[in-house]
Symmetry: C2
Subunit: 453 residues, 2 copies
Amino acid sequence: MNPSSSAFLTDLYQLTMLQGYFDAKMDRIAVFEFFVRRLPANRNFLVSAGLDQVLDFLESFECTAQELGWLEASGNFSREFVSHLRTTRFTGDVHAMPEGEIFFANEPILRVTAPIAEAQVVETRIVNLLHFQALIASKAVRCAITAPGKALVDFGLRRAHGAEAGLLAARACYLTGFTATSNVLAGQTYQIPLSGTMAHSFIQASDSEVEAFRRFALANPNNVTLLLDTYDTEAAAEKVVQLAPTLKSQGISIRGVRLDSGDLGEHARRVRRILDDGKLQEVSIFASGNLDEFELQRLVRSGAPIDGFGVGTRVLTSADAPYLDCAYKIQEYNGRPLRKLSEGKATWPGRKQVYRSYRSGRMESDVITLEDDKMPGEALLQPVMRNGKRLRSNVTLFEIRQRVADQLRQLPPGLLSLECEEQHFPVSISDSLQEMARNLSLAYASKNSRSSA
Amino acid sequence: MNPSSSAFLTDLYQLTMLQGYFDAKMDRIAVFEFFVRRLPANRNFLVSAGLDQVLDFLESFECTAQELGWLEASGNFSREFVSHLRTTRFTGDVHAMPEGEIFFANEPILRVTAPIAEAQVVETRIVNLLHFQALIASKAVRCAITAPGKALVDFGLRRAHGAEAGLLAARACYLTGFTATSNVLAGQTYQIPLSGTMAHSFIQASDSEVEAFRRFALANPNNVTLLLDTYDTEAAAEKVVQLAPTLKSQGISIRGVRLDSGDLGEHARRVRRILDDGKLQEVSIFASGNLDEFELQRLVRSGAPIDGFGVGTRVLTSADAPYLDCAYKIQEYNGRPLRKLSEGKATWPGRKQVYRSYRSGRMESDVITLEDDKMPGEALLQPVMRNGKRLRSNVTLFEIRQRVADQLRQLPPGLLSLECEEQHFPVSISDSLQEMARNLSLAYASKNSRSSA
């Protein structure tokens, strides 16, 4: 079983609802949109990511014979319905913001238009994919903003939430501007540059630290980065200085050293001095250990002589905000716009579009409106799938990285701050959309009130 | 590609170290242990989980021809080494605490004894699997403790961090005592009971709320749970009362209603009154929406008439503590005990065992000691794999659930509080282990100090 493409990556209620749609012959076109209700405390903007995986999932959606046999044996679904599921594919249309687009609360970043059962059954996995990659891209981009010109490497696979989280997070980090990942499978799957040095165990298992350094250099002559903090960081730096001439005589240059504990800024200063005194000015210093964008900012602002950072757990779990308040909600059925009124969770109805305006090369404001309204500005949702088929081949990660970099230059500079800006980016709801919402609320109120029930 | 079993779920540095071990002919037995350095703020204990997946991974460890071809083409590894990797399997031994065991900081829950390259290359995935399931089990168990006698259903797949996270978290929740999951793939994979009702979209797409209720009941006559909060919760409850006799005449009973927004306790009270007044005393009330153990405790203590809860995002991301400070560290190589001295990350050396003492049926204290020490109490680490093969067939989830339930009864009652107990569970380090650690530190200090470098 390859769990990442199973049609059963869904909630049971999707299937019970599908049985209901099937029995009631409800098969008309529905429109669902994915959006984030509000931004976490420390985010001034979010970065869209995960569309490529969503389109893969939709294109290959199919229940296996084994899955269907199991479902029928459960006894909770009719034979006719299970038989119908056998031939169910995703045949709908998708509009979406491109990956790497900056977006804000309430803006749909993906819209699905399909027969209601098809649009419904894919909800869970669509949310699962878009939520997680947007979550990580929106966290990782803060590291990229904070440490410009520094190498940034994703070290997070081990404490990511499972294998797929590690894989997709490596991708999300890279598209925001990271330099590399340590995740070998991500390197192979997405052609992300790989980076890796040595662990403490390599040094501990050797008879001495200097012997471990020598062995590692001989085994990996093009990638000699030596870990200094197993016993005593500065003592290890002096051993690097002593070892360097011998290695040089064998044609091997030491590329870098890594610090992984203690006060990284202070160790970096001391180690830089030892390396420089030992004529190893070209050896770079790489730091890791409990880093996130706040710690990167502190180290960068302090002027610590660190050339690159390995970030892991706190970024790959988005530790300060490990989820987004997001939803995939029905907006229209059979041409009729719909609105949910649940307390604190009311939705904006209808098929929507987001228009973005710029002034002097900077994003100025967004407006959320109905699809048919024509507004000035750039329409951010574009068709990406028609009748279940992608409209173009995959966008490369390189193009997405470029888009993120371009967008960051276009953001109002205040939004680049790590702290929450008092001045939110202006996102307005158009008059036509407000009117539709108001009218639907009134209509529901008269139809569903207790008195008329 | 099935990403969950790939040997490339590893960090590049594991492979660069393996090249180093290979070149230096370092192939003796190493011992690594997995442990959590400290507990998160809101955890008085942790629950071990994920061992079954670790053993699966070790038993099937193998690089594919495609992976090896890619690795060789990268140019960073020798042809001889890549050829050696082709035949590399995991042939070592594993000792572990059983899944469902309660454990504390610094206690190894898994020990790998294998030729160093084999023990090294599996580090990343072992941490990835054990960390995540222990994280979620340790969060989910707090819900189970807080809401005894209530139905608890995992709703979290959509905001779990990827597909595997959703799958493994469903398992972790279930083994701590959850009733069911909404995750269809988890139901199929692990035989976890499935539970699911309807979403707002089903109601919105229908011509009226009562028509949606009727359709759903006809399509799922054995599982009629109706969602009340799409427009007006209490008005919907009255519609349920009006609909019930018609359904009853068709042989269909309404099992429950679900609340998903607003003040859940207050809505539950009002809905209970409406249902009872309508002679629907047997219809249960199920609540969902931003729930975690703290909110469950508040609702349960307030006496809200809620029979079951759906918990999702906050539990499946362990939102208040989305990672554990854990490690998989070398403790011995070729019979020589090892200690890492990195600031704030020093390890206890050697092959270790944890002994647990009980008094009057309650856990009293743990002691961490060397494997060869014989101590009173129960030895928690037991052999589970020898020469790369499991020693027994899989433990069932039912057995693990039973273990968790038994262990919770044996815990000192103060530790069951959701708040952090001032009185930690007593875990001591034996004299022999302290002496070994001291001696190793002294030996390293003389060998690795700057003056002797």
